[in-house]
Structures are given as C-alpha cells and as structure tokens.
Amino acid sequence: MMNFRTVLLYILLLLFAANVQAKVIKNIETEDADIEVRVFPAEGNVLLLGFPCDEGKSIAEERTAQSLSEDGVEVWMPDMLGGFMLPKVRSSLADIPTETITAIIAEALKTGKKVYLIASGPDTELVLRAASQWEAEDHEPVAGAILMFPRLYKDTPVPGEVPEYVDAVGKTQLPIMLLEGGRTPNRWGLNTLSNELQKSGSDVTSKVIPKVRGYFFKRQDANRSEDVVTSQMAGLIKVSLFYLGESEI
C-alpha cells in the first residue's frame, strides 16, 4: 500500500506533466524547401524563433527551449541546414534564401504571439538578413532579436583597423540584445558592433557574460562556469527578452 508521501509525489508528477507540453515537429513548406521545425509549445503570448542550423543536434538549446516552454515562452527551432541539405559549415549560410526565413517568420506570426528572433555565432547573420527584408516588405513587425556571441566580421579583423561586417549589419531597425562571453576577444568588439547596428535605427543593448567563452553551450571542454551558465540559459534568455521590452514573461 502506498504511503501518503508516495501519493503526494505521484500527484505532483501528474500536475507537472499536465503543464509541460512535449516537443512537436512541424513542417513548414516554403517555395524553396520543406523546413522541419521543432516546436516547444507554450500557453504564453511570446514566441522565440531560433535558427539553430544544426541538422537536428543542439542538445543544450533543446533543454533551454523545453525550460522556456515550461515558463510560458513558446520556442520554434527550424532546421535550416537540414531543409536545404547543406553541410554544417559557415559558407552554407549564404545558400539559405532570405525568403525561406521570412516565410517561417510569417508562419510564426500566424500564432498571434509576439515573435522574437534568436541565433548564435555566424547564424546571427540570417536573423539580421531576414529582419531587414521583413521590414522592407512592410509586414506586422517582429518584436526583437537576441544575438548570442554574434560572429559578423566579413574577414578576420586586421589589428589596428575597424573591422568590416557582413552586409546584413546595419540594415534593420529591430531592437537587438547582444550577448557575448567575457573570455573571448570578441567582447572588445561589442561597442563597435553596437554602433554599426544602431546606424539603421536599432535600439541595441549588449551584455557580457563573465567567465565564459564564445559557443560556451556547444563546447566539449566546457569549464564549471560554462556549465553553470548553460544550465541557466533559459533565465539568461528571459532576462534578454526583458531588456528588449518584453513584460509578459
């Protein structure tokens, strides 16, 4: 016979399971490709649309997405590389049509939720490219973008010279939150990047996450600080949404 404590535990687990909605796979048909989207549904009014470009991997991102959905933030993770059968290399980004990304943004906005974009590393170029095209087409606006350790230099910066950025930088008015690791030389480029992004009217906020390197949540050799921040990434993203003016989280 079950004791009171066991019964209570079962009740709590059932209540928890009722609130947590499982990941679902959604296929979005665009003109160029069928894109598989991992959807972490939530009841709230905020939808976070990420471009992991990872051919179905990204374990830390999935855990974060699950955690966010439990907190009421819906997360969509489209597999852009898989959709176009592209290899996981930086040059593949150029082969992803902007129209395909904007088609996914349109689909996300159909939910009636406020849509925020998120990407990391070189994938941040896709967000900026899509945002500027979306604005040019005069649609219902996207609420903002979170760029985690953006890698937006056109080439390796020459010492002593202002770096040149990819063409998508400085073309959108989207409010932007920049996150960068404290243990990467790129943190010293945050001001310059912010200035470039602001030239087109974006309201840009930047924060340095102390004691972590870039790509901290993708690293095999993660140190203790990086493990801790990875485990708290959902909170970090919620704080970023707050900085972008989101009050419904």
Partner: protein
C-alpha cells in the same frame, strides 16, 4: 609508380603543413606614417611601462589572453626569439586582454615568459589599439611608428621573422 605516389603524399603533406603556419610574409606592412597609440600599463610586479620610454628600440606589442589557444602555443617561440634577437635593441610588451592577475599568473608560472607581460583588466588599451581578435600583433619601429601588423599564431623564432625585425632596428 610507388615512388611517384610517395612523392605526391610528401608534397601534399608539406603543403598542408605550410598552410597551418603563419610566415613572416603574413606581416602586413603599414606603409603610411602611423604613430603607435599610447600604452601605459602595469606589469605583474606592479611596475609601470610606457611604450614611449622604448623609443629607439623595435617593440613587439602583442594583445593576448590565456583562453586564446594560438597565444598559448606561440609564447615559447617568443622566448626563443628574445635570445635570437641578440644585441638588437628589442622589447616585447605582451598585453593581456582583460583578465585578472589570478587568471594570468598560473599561465605565466608555467610558460615563464622572458618578456614583459602587461595587465589591462579594464581593456582601455584594447579599444585604443583597435584590437578585435587575439593574438593581435603590432611591430613598432624605433621612430615610434607602426611598421607591421600581424594577426594569428606564428613561430616568432623563425629566421625570416627575426631577420625582418633586426632590419627594422638598422
């Protein structure tokens, strides 16, 4: 036939190896008269170093960090370079990019650099010198102007590099 295959593999290997190294040819000459920005920082002993006090010498100003793999790898070759430069008036000022003394000391005790490590926890000089990647190197001539820049890890004790820096001192 086997000899040809062996030679092809050997040539391919040499080609791949040479691509992984940065040569003196990667030194980017600065042709205009560009004065080095000011640089006044403390070393790990607390002594202040001012770049302008080294006027008349060739100075390698390097921006590095302990988390930067290529920076860690090339430091022993900087030690060897110091001895290869012999009597040439030459100084290395290696500026750590924004780390604390507690982070830098263990690395310094391991590598034992025979040159000056400068600390810039606030990153002021990093902005002044427009450094956006590590390691970033500036070769300053005896006149205080920037003669070359170089990004990336390099074998600093290569004869080609040492000769180029010695030539600057003449």
């Amino acid at each position: 036939m086997y000899k040809q295959i062996y030679l092809s593999i050997l040539l391919l290997t040499l080609s791949v190896l040479s691509q992984g190294m940065v040569h003196a040819a990667n030194l980017k000459p600065v042709t205009n008269e560009v004065a080095a920005p000011s640089l006044t920082l403390k070393d790990l002993q607390g002594d202040i170093h001012d770049l302008k006090d080294y006027r008349g010498q060739v100075v390698l100003v390097q921006f590095w960090a302990t988390y930067c793999g290529p920076c860690r790898k090339e430091m022993p070759s900087m030690n060897k370079m110091m001895s290869k430069m012999g009597d040439t008036p030459f100084k290395i000022l290696a500026v750590d990019m924004g780390e604390s003394e507690a982070e830098v000391r263990p690395f310094v005790e391991e590598v034992k650099p025979e040159f000056t490590i400068l600390m810039d926890e606030e990153g002021k000089s990093i902005e002044d010198w427009r450094v956006f990647a590590a390691p970033s190197n500036f070769i300053i001539g005896p006149d205080g102007n920037i003669k070359y820049t170089l990004f990336g890890g390099v074998e600093w004790d290569s004869d080609e590099l040492v000769d180029k820096l010695k030539a600057l001192a003449k």
